[in-house]
């Protein structure tokens, strides 16, 4: 799979989780917690593979890196708000919809603008980059350090 296809597939996972989360109701607290934790982990993995591998690789063919970083920051900040909001809080749904809008805008920016620009790297390079992204993604899913980071993040964000 080419790099952009790997990332689009993962965007689908993220968008799917957000859709499920938006569809939950205030009394489905256990389901909300589970989906929220899963989203936190997937977002952490996604940001990391893009920051480590994809963004540095497209640096010379896309002028959108600063924008992408700014949008990651906005997603991160809103994710923190969602983590801080209790799952049975009447505002939970509103904050999740805000996170969803932020993420949808960023994936749109990448899929419609940055990824087409990345095609200038050529098919061969994109295939190779795609393999690297998948390998790193698998590695992060298995990594104990990643699990620890996610757990720490979850704990601190709920504390403050």
């Amino acid at each position: 799979m080419k790099a952009d296809q790997v990332l689009i597939a993962h965007h689908d996972v993220l968008r799917g989780l957000l859709r499920q989360l938006t569809e939950t109701t205030d009394d489905q607290t256990a389901e909300r917690s589970r989906l929220r934790d899963e989203l936190l982990r997937e977002l952490e993995v996604h940001t990391q593979i893009e920051d480590e591998l994809f963004y540095p690789a497209v640096r010379d063919v896309s002028p959108l890196l600063s924008l992408a970083h700014a949008e990651h920051r906005q997603i991160d900040d809103q994710l923190a708000t969602v983590m801080r909001t209790a799952v049975d809080d009447p505002e939970f749904g509103t904050e999740v919809r805000m996170l969803s809008a932020t993420l949808h805008h960023h994936t749109f920016e990448e899929e419609e603008r940055m990824f087409p620009q990345s095609h200038a790297l050529g098919d061969e390079r994109l295939e190779q980059l795609g393999r690297q992204l998948q390998e790193r993604q698998e590695e992060l899913y298995r990594s104990g350090a990643m699990r620890l980071i996610v757990r720490l993040k979850r704990m601190t964000l709920r504390l403050v």
Binding site: D51, S66, L67, H69, A70, E71, R73, Q74, D76, D77, Q78, A80, R84, T94, R97, M98, A101, T102, H105, E109, T156, L157, V160
Partner: protein, 312 residues
Amino acid sequence: MSVRSRLERTLGAVERLQVLDGPGYQLEHGVALTYLLTGRFARPLQDLLHGVWLGHPLHPALVTVPVGSWTAALVLDGLDVTGRGGPGTGAAARTAVGVGVAGAVASAASGLTDWQHAHDGARRVGLVHAGLNSTALALYAWSFADRGRRRPGRARVTAAAGFALTLASSWLGGALSYRHGLGTDHADRSPEPRRFTPVLAESELVDGEAVGATVDGVPVVLVAQDGEVHAVGGTCPHQGAPLGEGWLHRGELVCPWHGSRFDLATGEPTQGPSTAPLPCFDVRRQDGRVEVRRRGNWRGPTATTTVEEASR
């Protein structure tokens, strides 16, 4: 080579220092984490330091404290060195250095908060600006301590070095404002359209969604909400993001780039980094079409109002 072209070259070189991007993002992650740890105070704190309450960036206003105090200290040191000082000159110089240090810490906090959202060349220039200023701050802190330890000679040398660094760094700060336009208002402030002009069909509005359009070359955003239609400028005052790509949260328009939020009725920013309001437009519905007209307000220059009145 002229002074101007030398400075120009330096600026260009700093703007292209891509090696600064790695450390820059690390620093931003650090700042972001620090703010996240303040929980629900993160937003009010950042808005305070951006200057959302002030209507323009707080940072340039704050820096007058260290620059002014340190200039005073330089003059007082000069008097002492040339033997024209009085019995209180040394103590006065120490106070001035101390006030400057306190002001510099506050300036650094606000500067760092603004810098988080700078892009590309401006981001690199900002990082060098911050590095130089931090060094100057350290020199002045050292100078302050030396003045307490009765080491006046060394204290004056470190203060003078700090002053030179501050000057160099201020030049970069100026470039950030006047060249990169960091902190300036990027919204469209033209008086157009002065008369009601059709923008789109009523059927193109989506309830609860931001719809971008252009009218007379002016970008606008239309929002149908609770039976009302609002129209505001389509360019974010912060750094010019296309607000037509933005969305609504709690009835406010959110900027897709750095998350400024705007009140749709007044255009005022309810959350930074934008410190300037959005221009507003009057809206009317005519035969299934939505028409807008630039809302005249005190922000418009007087001449505009006159022409506007005359042409209606």
